[in-house]
Symmetry: C2
Subunit: 203 residues, 2 copies
DNA sequence: GCTCCTGCCTATCAAGTGTTAGGTTGTTTG
DNA sequence: CAAACAACCTAACACTTGATAGGCAGGAGC
């Protein structure tokens, strides 16, 4: 039962390949991951990959794009659900939670993206860039909501702050993946550091 | 004049190789950088590398180690020069400046380290780990000086804070290398965000 | 029943990989 | 001058890489 219709086979195979590729790219790096290993992990032979993808670069491009897209959607959804007058602290904490949860739980795509973006052929990186920029703009817009409440400091540019925050959050991938209970705690701690800094508040 | 003595030749050649390797590892990634390209950049043939190094892994190991060591020394020196009773803000700002300056100016070694640490063979990574930990411990010690002044917040662990800060600073490598005037400004902005957070202080 | 198409496999290609063995300089040492 | 050594090169090794061309099973559509 529920035997996949033949027309759907390509879509599922394609997805299996991308899943395996994302996992391998994440753990091994881009150049170190061969098409043969991706194929083996997908229960295929290397030549068969070319039925679904034109080249290795097409695979990595798709993996990169999906990685940002998922996180983008998750952060956008969670913050859009907040009431329009939600205060800045809630806004930031919600966005940080969503970003970290998506990064750590929603799969190898986002992790692979963070790790191998810098080691991918240049034109692949350029093709992927707009999606990255769109996500950064989402964060700048979030910070804009804080500005309109008069709660964001004005002496540092919003672009600097967003890059700063994304960098700090993405670096958390290097500590390993915590269980989801701890992850929530980690997200809240990080949001606290973002919001109030590392010092005691009376300093 | 000042012709290098023959006994010094090996040391300089070795250094040239490492310089080229660090630059290539940084820009191309670990697996994507072949010994032939390193050799060509060093004005050699690939076989000659084996006079100076036993393997590719020995090269990458040295590059990784030097990358952290330089930053470590620079941060240690600059903070050790401060008076013992220097306040926490000065301490953090000084360390952040030193870290970013070393990262961006002291060469491709530290940049290569940050970028390719996750993609080197596992036993290479394990062999390099102690040096990383030592540097992290230096930061934890710095934060300890803040604690003894009663100025570091107590609800988040020092290890978490140090990883947080190092991650945020290292991520700045991905924005490209600013000229050194702007870098100082960037370091001060980042230190400000660390110390007081992204919000206005009356919030 | 015949053809067509999907999805995969086999076999192979040229190019590039890390590594090694042995040779060739030119300088240093006895 | 001869032996020794340092520093490099040449040529090759076994292997892996991304990619291609052609084939083959089996369900779909007429």
């Amino acid at each position: 039962m529920n035997q996949p219709r033949v027309q759907e086979k390509e879509a599922t195979s394609r997805r299996i390949i991308l899943d395996c590729a994302a996992r391998l790219f994440r753990t091994e790096g881009y150049a170190a991951t061969s098409l043969r290993r991706i194929a083996a992990a997908s229960n295929m032979k290397s030549g068969s990959l070319y039925y679904h993808f034109a080249s290795k670069e097409e695979i990595i491009t798709e993996v990169l794009n999906m990685g940002v897209q998922r996180v983008h959607d998750e952060v956008w959804r969670s913050t859009a659900e907040l009431p329009p007058d939600a205060d800045s602290h809630t806004l930031v904490r919600t966005a940080v939670r969503a970003h970290l949860a998506a990064l750590h739980e929603l799969g190898d795509y986002s992790s692979a993206n963070v790790r191998i973006y810098g080691q991918v052929p240049e034109h692949v990186r350029n093709a992927h860039k707009p999606i990255r920029i769109a996500y950064e703009d989402l964060w700048i817009a979030l910070l804009g909501r804080c500005v309109s409440q008069g709660s964001l400091r004005g002496d540092v540019s919003r672009r600097f702050i967003s890059t700063f925050m994304l960098g700090a959050m993405n670096a958390s991938l290097e500590w390993g993946t915590p269980e989801s209970g701890r992850l929530q705690q980690m997200a809240d701690d990080m949001a606290e550091l973002f919001l109030r800094g590392i010092m005691t508040s009376n300093q």
